[in-house]
């Protein structure tokens, strides 16, 4: 029995998919990367943008055509909007929320017993997460031997107007800190070098427990304490924090422990106050600025990444220029810049998408140029320095090994050495340009 699993979207879905694999392989399924060999076909969907959802529709149409020739069972889970769920109910054999992953074996065994009509009225508009702990208790089947994702939280209570996640993943629920620490301890002892704490708003961790769970800063501190006594070298990252919940204590803790990576991904989305309000981001530029000042003061070596949406409803040239000014002020090492596209289910979908496609492309280009300038300037600082680098890939063009620094700056080596894969090595930086550097192992 073989299964094929397609994972779309963010690291959260990747982490979820590792638990799906664990459940299926526990049932006796083996994974295949060739969907034509599989009798069980699944997708972990992403609703953040329309394109991944379109891919789900295309894929299930293809799979259902295959059903004319052979027996297949199909399933979909992940981030699903209620409207898409309604449609998938008619096209997939199984559809379930990740909180019910533990019952997937029963669903597969009992397939065909329950009719959709009997259950549709019980379908929630907003997913409930009370049982998500059951999913978290499933040991993931990691795809990598050196990089792992650890979910610490599920759901989102922020209601940014451009995003549908609160409607696809439900309310914020924090995973028990003892489970998180155990999983990190296990991963570090297994030799994992890069461990990323995952959540839609990682730094609101614990707030849903009304004082019965530790804070995000304390969670990091406990991880840091483990790192101090561990004989293994590893870096712990987190993504994504929300500026509203970021505080100086978190930054102080990161500064205090070697294992807490000196890389902070702090989504800004826009540098304009009016657009931030329209996005319902709940943080001002003053607040964002104070966080960056704290980072620069307490962790001057930290790299700073961000997320930006250009062309959001209400963003004119003047507002866009404020984002450019923010880039010039904060000198980001990296920014993931997306052109705004309305997503069904998000509040902004109901508004006119008033910025033309040409203007969005133009702003994306211009902002990317600013990013490149400061990325290059930042990377020049590392020239001739020796840095720890996690080797994690191969350059497509040269075939040489590639890796990332603790600050997640890409480093290309001057040769390929398969034995270094997944290892932390010292690399002397010999050249630097925007978004990446080159070096030699020393």
């Amino acid at each position: 029995m073989k299964y094929h699993l397609i994972t779309l979207g963010c690291q959260m879905n990747i982490a979820d998919s590792e638990r799906v694999s664990s459940v299926l392989e526990g049932m006796g399924y083996t994974r295949t990367e060739n969907e034509e060999d599989a009798s069980l076909l699944g997708i972990l969907a992403c609703s953040v943008r329309q394109k991944p959802i379109d891919k789900v529709y295309n894929k299930i149409a293809q799979w259902n055509r295959w059903k004319n020739k052979r027996n297949l069972l199909t399933f979909v889970s992940g981030c699903l909007l209620p409207a898409d769920k309604d449609k998938f109910l008619k096209t997939f054999d199984l559809i379930f929320p990740m909180s019910e992953l533990g019952q997937l074996p029963d669903m597969i065994r009992e397939y065909g017993v329950v009719t959709p009509a009997a259950l549709k009225s019980r379908q929630p508009i907003m997913p409930k997460n009370e049982h998500i702990a059951g999913m978290w208790s499933i040991a993931p089947k990691h795809q990598s031997t050196y990089e792992a994702y650890v979910p610490i939280q599920n759901g989102c209570d922020k209601f940014c107007t451009f995003c549908a996640v609160p409607y696809t993943r439900g309310r914020e629920v924090s995973r028990p800190s003892s489970d998180i620490i155990d999983e990190i301890r296990h991963l570090a002892n297994q030799g994992y070098k890069s461990i990323t704490l995952l959540g839609q708003n990682v730094n609101s961790y614990g707030l849903d427990k009304n004082g019965e769970e530790i804070s995000f800063a304390e969670l990091l501190r406990q991880i840091g304490e483990f790192g101090k006594i561990s004989e293994h070298e590893f870096w712990v990252y987190f993504t994504s924090p929300h500026p509203e919940d970021m505080n100086r204590e978190v930054i102080e803790v990161i500064a205090s422990y070697d294992c807490l990576a000196k890389q902070i991904h702090l989504p800004m989305q826009s540098g304009d106050e009016r657009v931030l309000i329209k996005m319902n981001r709940r943080h001002s530029m003053d607040k964002y600025r104070r966080i960056v000042e704290d980072i620069r003061e307490l962790i001057p070596q930290a790299t700073l990444f961000t997320d930006i949406i250009v062309g959001f409803t209400g963003e004119g040239e003047a507002e866009f220029q404020n984002t450019v000014a923010a880039f010039e002020e904060f000198k980001f090492n990296m920014a993931y810049i997306a052109m705004y596209s309305p997503r069904p289910g998000a509040a902004s979908f109901r508004w006119e998408d008033e910025v033309s496609s040409e203007d969005k492309k133009d702003r994306l280009f211009r902002l990317s140029q600013v990013l490149k300038f400061y990325s290059n300037e930042n990377n020049q600082f590392y020239l001739e320095k020796t840095m720890r680098v996690l080797i994690n890939g191969t350059d497509r063009k040269t075939g040489f090994s590639t890796g990332v620094t603790e600050g997640k700056i890409i480093v290309r080596l001057d040769k390929h050495d398969h034995s270094l894969m997944g290892q932390l090595v010292n690399v002397k930086i010999t050249s630097a340009t925007f978004l990446s550097m080159s070096g030699e192992v020393v």
Partner: protein, 226 residues
Amino acid sequence: MMSLMKPDMQMDESFYKIEDIRQLTGNAFSIKLPKARFAFKAGQHISLGIVGGNQSREYSIYSGENDPNLEVLIKEVQNGYFTPQLRRLKVGRVLEIHGPFGKFGMEPELAAHGKFVFIASGTGIAPFRSIIRTYPTIDYTIIHGVRYSEEAYDRDQYDSKRYKLCTSRENKGDYYGRLTGYLKSCTFAPETHFDLCGNSDMIFDALEILKDKGFDRDQIHCEVYF
């Protein structure tokens, strides 16, 4: 095609039967539900969906923390998708409620000792009614911006000396014009806390005015209606 939908909820505490609908104006009304089965802070919001539908919207809670009913204030949006459906609902229909959400909730300690100016446009007054009903002795002034005076929802429930109505389309309020115009003319004690709720343009303009008056951004809390 046979399909299996694995349910992730039962008919449980998320479902509320409508107990009453109060018509406030031609297109604004409040929906009264049973008392909230969750603890909330006055000022927070909930997610509200119609059972059997597949969409939900966020609404500030209109009732106080200790009121016998959970209540929301709704204005029908012409040619909208969701609010016309809400408008057609009758007593006895079931809504799906999730929450509470947000950090706009009032802290008891602050309510007891703080001095507040609540700035609202339209139905943005909802969280402030919740706060005032929860903390009847709170030191507050409401500046409420509407187009017509009939949109001064439940005005008689506020202390008339503390409620300033700004009407932009007719001269029947305390101030004829936009609330931002009134705000510019006001002076406030330096220790005042400002809570803003309404559409994003009003909030941005009010923020700029308050910053020009020298108030720190930390004294100003915003809840955007969208």
